[in-house]
Assembly symmetry: D2
Homo-oligomer: 377 residues x 4
């Protein structure tokens, strides 16, 4: 693991997600650029002393030289956005599969370089768009894919948060500070941090791709340097249209990502606050409540469910589903086996490139006086 | 009553709304342009034979000549959009107060003429934006007005319906046919029919006015002549921004109008499906559930509530609130009394003009290649 | 109308319920035992001066002598429990159909006398168990009746209120005072006031009858003279069992009556807080959400629905459904027509007798040291 | 770990709960009485070959003889009810702390022996009443404990499941078979399996103890040998009363455990289906929605929360909270430190004895013709 020391948030989440299924063991880490934090964090996590590093480059060098049985199967990069690209490229160069927090890189161009590197090396990459790990999100995708509801007409996706309602970065809050700093976060604030999740969820569930975009971005909190609120109209490659809304200044909201898709015969609704429920609506029949663990679900949600219906699974399980599917695929590849299609259903570099393109396009459209912009990649 | 014969939908709703409080009696009607329907409907409604008319002009003439005690206090116009203006102008000319279904007229220009006529005559007009009659909508408005939540930053309003998911007008369905016909409905379809409700709700609850708009309208169902889906970005006079979504092709949705407003310290959420609940969210405190009938509510919702908390009040009561407040105001005026401020809280010609301006602006913006359009009135 | 003056609660509710459909006109009233209130209330309700009475006996005498066209079709009795029996008997004797607030009488014996009188006179009676007027309650009954869910196994019904959490009667609150006074309310407090509604709902929806009962009643608030809380185990004539809970000291609850019925293949859930929704649960399929106005509903809810799906109907509409069905039946009878079966679906004396038997049995069981008591009528 | 081989359900859940926080490592196991299953399961779980056992007695012997650094810190017993007591006693005798699935033993008498053994050895025991591990359950307990809501008056607890709606045991379904077999499950079926959870939740949240009980148990599915449905009236040591309902034949229900507690000034409501929400109701104020991760929560839920508000935590996290608190306490004890009070908040032998007493009392009361039975321990 690169990054994720004891003062970080997302690193701890990654470790829980790795731990849950008992299939992944953390054995080495360069957990912080602060050497003291790196050492202390490694000790807390029961790493062997000689596998606690204070420099990720050293770690990748040394670990690459280890014998096969001890060698890392993959490297997780959980640093801020601007420190994704270099460690990822080096890890791939050293022959390690890679897990990266989203957004995949700082720029679209970097994402394309990673794609090229993956093609050259044959290695694989997991990008942590966690929401696609929920069983009911997978069920939604399958219901749309198999055509039960008819052709998709409309996609609404929204991601309201409230935690940046005040000028937190002025108070030195760590999470807020790098996310609102263009040098660390990239071209977009809210749209990069959570808009990309909404965008990914829309494309994942619908199976469609955005081809045109018209956005309006705002900086609501005084003094902030990047957008903290915005919305976009979307056109998809099938002719369907959509609306995407993301905000971090919706005071009182927690993390309420939600998607609705309407088709010729009915629609779907899923929201993270009630993650184990998928509403399936019909033009002429009662709405149906699909639930995690239901015997009627398809093989995709079934594979990503751990406990019987009625025992809520949450964010950490969704995250663990990404890791488990990635690990199953890595192991299959290592063993020369063909991974099941359900295992391969995790976000990777393609989603990373789409996400970076979203950031570039949504920002450019936001600054434009024209309405529609081609979604370029 | 003009229009609203036995084959109409909204006329029956108006009559229930008039009846509920026992303060309004229907005594005369030109209920249909079809004389047979007009007569049969009048009989069914227990009208005196000599006050059942087959022509609204004749009715307004004759009723205007009645002695004071028998004379109509007001006229309700519940015809399709293109038959609002002329009967309204004639009714005002004859000295009757007027109730009109929304949208107020066929064009913005006509709405302005009605405003002028109202100013000249001193008569009053009720425009049936029903959703503003709900107690919890009124409570939302009061909470924002008194500043408890701080300055408004963001308004989301949406109105998804599904009933026009198929080409109903092709099958001759009466409700669908005139609403999708530009000659009867006006420049906009979905945006005129329900977008205006969403727009009105946003301006009513927030107390703000839209000053710029960027819209995207769609005709989703093949063969349809007017928009059946659309969305708009909004800028308000305070600097706040918003998103408005309205659609009639969200298969599986009923009539799910919903508004969310976010301010500096918290936010509000109300939706018609759960009309007696208002969520009040806070940055640092538990969300509060305000309920119709709660002892903590302000005088506005209290005045518009009929039964104790826990006995759900619905759409018809909200509608009846418009009529009751209008009737209380008409009576006060008649008696030379000053109406209470709670009574005056009903939509009128100002809202009608704003609504017609919305139709004009949202359609024009929808056709424009530029992003933002000044909201002109 | 007998009772229901301007200081009463339920009288106003009855009048709204009568008004809604424009089929019932209030023409005479003995609205209060206080002559001044009676007169003032009558004037406020636009009654003719000569039909405002200060004594119900005088009213019944005089109105009975009116010519056919002017004669009352029925009399509504909305007085406290202990003033139901005598006016009802006199009204029936004078040839008027009768509407009574529940519970039908003060004692079971009186209820049986009313039944006998109805049989003798051929008149009809409406007992206001409002909750059975909700469209989705009727849909629940039909789904159970037609066997879709298999045989009934379990019935849970509950009615939590919180308004008697303090010693309101000590402060002279009118509603609380008579309801907690054995001389005015009868043998039971909470069980008579709302337990009877829960009991009626259970028998109505399930189509079953209670045959054995085991109850536990409590007086929670110090100083109170009647039960304000309790629960009962139930055995039904089919072998199914149930649990009934009713309380008026659940601080923070409004009026949250709820029923769940489980059968061999699935179950039903309805609650008044979300009155337009009926959950239909299945052993092996997604739960279905039935909604008021849904095209899939049976003729019973359809007949009792006024507006399209998505426009919430509430308590007053449910109440109006009782009145409308009663009025349709009265009119059919008057015209020598056969009422439709959907019209006949309103609670009457049979439900009244069952309700009074419930009061007697639940109180007796509550005082018994034995567990099960035969439910005697 | 004793039990929990690859064909078991709850063993896998325990392992996830152990894994999540990276503080507990599974190093040895007697995972099945079937040696092949035991071996295969051990390999799958990456156990060292010499620590995979086919007999728990051998395991306890051998492991007890290991040097301090390698020695087990505790043993988890996840076998069916009738195989809890002996391994637990032996483990304690050998000096291991113990984790046991609920119910703690087969009989109340055995539970008392375990208590005695714990007192003698000074070892500690975790009993897996998972629902008390939810952050919002802990918040509920704290709100009641600190008196904010006033004195408790009423407790409703219910646990409806539907999975035993058919005669599953007749079809050889493993989970159903032992649970419905008196020789393996004990005196009670539904009441032992889930009624004990409801009972524990009621006592945990309220901080009260049941002193009297009146129950009614049913065998609904033909051929079944133990109760699959039942309810009980409860009296608590404070004078408060309650109702407990548990059923496994509520077709269409998943695992919907729910508790409501009403006090003088307000009430609480929590249900597992919406586990991250706690409703706090007030007599005179809007209901409040407390949420996992809220900054206003007490130190107990805060300690048991892993991710920020809005990222749902579920059943596995609740389970992991039990394990983490147990592990923190074991480690503190090992290190001679004083565990924090938040760590000590996990169910143990006291709860085990109360639960076994519940089984005995609820069954005895169910068979009695008298109403109230003293709750004896």
């Amino acid at each position: 693991m690169i990054g994720g020391g004891k003062d970080a948030f997302i690193g701890a989440v990654h470790r829980i997600a790795q731990n849950i299924d008992g299939q992944i063991e953390l054995v080495a880490g360069a957990l912080s650029i602060n050497p003291e934090v790196a050492l202390a964090s490694g000790k807390e996590l029961f790493l062997a002393d000689d596998r606690i590093y204070t420099d990720y480059k050293v770690m990748l060098e040394k670990e690459a030289a280890m014998p096969a049985g001890m060698r890392l199967d993959f490297v997780s990069i959980v640093t801020p956005n601007f420190v994704h690209f270099e460690p990822a490229m080096m890890a791939l160069d050293k022959g390690f599969n890679v897990v990266i927090e989203k957004p995949i890189t700082f720029t679209l161009e970097q994402a394309k370089q990673i794609q090229k590197k993956l093609e050259e090396t044959g290695l694989i990459l997991l990008l942590c768009h966690t929401y696609t790990g929920y069983p009911m999100v997978k069920q939604a995708k399958q219901l749309l894919k198999n055509g039960t509801l008819g052709k998709i007409r409309k996609v609404y996706v929204e991601y309201p948060q409230g935690w940046l309602s005040t000028y937190l970065e002025g108070a030195g809050q760590a999470q807020a500070s790098w996310r609102t700093d263009p040098k660390k976060s990239g071209k977009a604030g809210c749209m990069g941090d959570i808009g990309t999740h909404a965008f990914n969820l829309a494309e994942y569930v619908s199976g469609l791709q955005v081809t045109q975009i018209c956005s309006s971005l705002n900086i609501v909190v005084e003094g902030r340097m990047l957008d903290d609120d915005g919305a976009a109209f979307l056109k998809f490659n099938s002719g369907a249209t959509g609306v995407l809304m993301a905000t971090q200044i919706a005071a009182g909201e927690e993390n309420n990502i939600k998607i609705r898709v309407y088709c010729e015969k009915g629609g779907l609704e899923w929201k993270q606050e009630d993650a184990n429920t998928l509403l399936v609506k019909w033009l002429d029949k009662p709405t149906e409540i699909y639930r995690t663990g239901g015997s009627y679900n398809s093989s995709y949600p079934a594979h990503n469910t751990r406990v019987p219906a009625g025992h809520p699974e949450g964010y950490l399980e969704a995250f663990a589903n990404l890791y488990r599917n990635f690990a199953l695929t890595v192991r299959a590849k290592k063993n020369g086996e063909i991974p099941k299609e359900e295992w391969l259903d995790f976000p990777g570099v393609t989603e990373g490139i789409r996400g970076m393109a979203f950031v570039e396009n949504v920002v450019e459209s936001g600054m434009s006086e024209g309405k529609w912009k081609e979604f370029t990649v």
